[in-house]
């Protein structure tokens, strides 16, 4: 953990050498996710609700999902360029060091420009809270906390899967973006609006619904009380991801160069 702190400071220092570019990229990041919000805003100018969820409720859902994703992204986006690491044989260097390889991969690249997105997430999160009209009780606050924890873990797991697949394909798979960026994009609405089949997949295969839809129902007083514990169950998702990573490391053959 202290090592990760050192990596963190190191990347921050190297970044502050290029200030203007950094700020512009931050603003850009902010604008990109702001587009999503504007899109929602104009959709709800036309429609008063979607499948029984009002604009304010959807905003809360969007804020929470975006927050979950941004938290996971700021921790685990180092996996994003993992295919480069494998292609250039840099992973060899990681393996000979006396620390856990996941920690070293994560420390190899920390993206501060994601701060734009995190800022957006924080703003949406607070705004969603303010307008949602939910009556807050200690249990509900706990539920939101669980959602953030569970969401960060699930999205990190997905990034981990993305990296693990690189062991076998060398090339990063564009298709995996559907599960990460796609989930962020479409997770702005409660999963149930996409139909029953999608809800089932998101409950049992990739537990998006456990970190978003079910606890969200609990916040709106529409779900059963035990729904608030589901995000913690979603944390189990990290186990198969981790096993896949282990399998990948064992399967790894250096690509040289």
């Amino acid at each position: 953990m202290r090592l990760y702190g050192k990596f963190f400071v190191m990347h921050l220092k190297s970044l502050l050498e290029y200030k203007t570019s950094f700020f512009l990229t931050c603003i850009g990041q902010f604008l990109v996710s702001f587009n999503v919000f504007l899109g929602m805003y104009f959709m709800f100018q036309r429609f008063s609700n979607v499948e029984g969820f009002t604009y304010n409720e959807v905003l809360l859902c969007f804020g929470i999902t975006l927050m979950e994703f941004s938290l996971a992204e700021s921790v685990a986006r180092g996996f994003d360029t993992f295919d480069n690491m494998i292609k250039q044989g840099e992973f060899d260097r990681v393996l000979v060091r006396p620390r856990h390889e996941i920690l070293l991969v994560l420390g190899s690249r920390i993206e501060f420009s994601r701060i734009g997105r995190i800022m957006q997430a924080v703003v949406m999160f607070i705004y969603g809270f303010a307008v949602s009209g939910v009556r807050w009780t200690p249990a509900k606050v706990m539920a939101v906390l669980f959602m953030l924890i569970g969401g960060t873990v699930v999205f990190s797991g997905l990034f981990l899967i993305y990296a693990s697949i690189c062991f076998f394909t060398i090339e990063g798979l564009e298709f995996m973006n559907v599960f990460t960026d796609g989930a962020r994009e479409y997770g702005k609405y409660p999963v149930s609006i996409y139909g029953k089949r999608i809800l089932q997949i998101c409950t049992f295969v990739i537990p998006y619904a456990l970190i978003q839809y079910y606890p969200f129902l609990f916040l709106l007083d529409r779900g059963k009380p035990w729904y608030c514990l589901l995000p913690l169950a979603a944390c189990l998702f990290i186990i198969p991801c981790f096993l896949l990573w282990k399998l990948g490391v064992r399967h790894y053959t250096s690509s040289g160069s």
Binding site: Y18, T20, S21, L24, T25, I27, G28, Q29, L31, V32, F34, N35, V36, L38, G39, F42, M43, Q45, R46, F47, S48, N49, V50, E51, G52, L173, E174, F175, N177, V178, G182, E185, Y186, Y189, I193, Y194, G195, I198
Partner: protein, 267 residues
């Protein structure tokens, strides 16, 4: 003219080489289109009366958008060009007896077209065989189809001309990252990539339709789905041509200006 055609051919056949990447892209785009359509279905089921276009037209819009994604996505700018400007290799390009603007224009156009050729067929085929409201319907009339093809090319022209402006501007700013990301997010939103323009409120939409961004994907996709026809389509086509020439003119001006005071970076 001949040498620019040669550039075009070269880049076009280069683009056709990346078949595996195209396949991965096709699979991804299917998933995106599917989610997008299900999202619109949810809104449609909730309140069909407020829907600005028919549901079938919306589905056609989404499928066409995904099939021709590479033609219109502003973030598909060419990193090579930015690299040339940043690391100073632009000097080699300047030695050639060609006009930078024309060369880059033909190369961007070729890149986008070749990618689209590889990707559009599988998506269009499958979408055409999907059951009625969700699939891709035939265009309203043969005339509408011809108009669609024509505006499709005009739309790509406007998109490329806009990207050229960004390339030219990065001669002045050195680091392209900033203006690039701002330009991209503007295009995304104002061209109807985030939500189709008809879904905007009436007043906002009337204004947006005058901007160059509406001349990109908005016009051809809506003509295909039958949402835009008759006099409105003619007006849109006229605007497209206007913006095409205006953007190219602006780009050329910037080009001439940049060439006069260019400094080569690094070595």
């Amino acid at each position: 003219m001949k040498k620019y055609l040669a550039f075009f051919r070269l880049r076009f056949s280069m683009g056709l080489q990346y078949r595996a990447a195209a396949f991965a892209g096709v699979v991804t785009q299917f998933a995106w289109a599917g989610m997008e359509i299900m999202m619109f279905r949810a809104f449609y089921r909730t309140d069909a009366a407020s829907f600005p276009m028919t549901f079938q037209a919306t589905c056609a819009y989404v499928w066409m958008q995904q099939a021709f994604l590479t033609l219109f996505m502003a973030w598909m700018m060419e990193n090579e060009i930015f690299d040339l400007i940043v690391n100073g290799n632009i000097s080699y390009e300047l030695c050639r007896p060609v006009n930078i603007y024309n060369m880059w224009f033909s190369r961007s156009l070729a890149n986008r077209l070749s990618k689209a050729v590889l990707r559009c067929l599988p998506i269009l085929l499958v979408a055409a065989f999907l059951p009625a409201p969700y699939g891709l319907m035939l265009p309203a009339s043969p005339l509408a189809f011809l108009l669609f093809l024509f505006t499709l090319f005009a739309g790509v022209g406007v998109t490329v001309a806009f990207c050229m402006l960004v390339y030219m501007l990065s001669f002045f700013t050195i680091s392209p990252a900033g203006i690039r990301i701002v330009a991209v997010s503007m295009v995304e939103f104002l061209s109807g990539a985030t939500i189709p323009l008809p879904f905007f409120p009436e007043k906002v939409r009337a204004f947006l339709e005058l901007l160059p961004f509406a001349s990109m994907q908005n016009v051809p996709l809506r003509i295909y789905s039958g949402d835009l026809s008759g006099a409105a389509a003619g007006r849109a086509l006229f605007l497209q041509l206007f913006w095409l020439f205006a953007l190219i003119g602006m780009g050329r001006l910037l080009d001439a200006f940049a060439m006069k005071k260019i400094t080569i970076q690094g070595g």
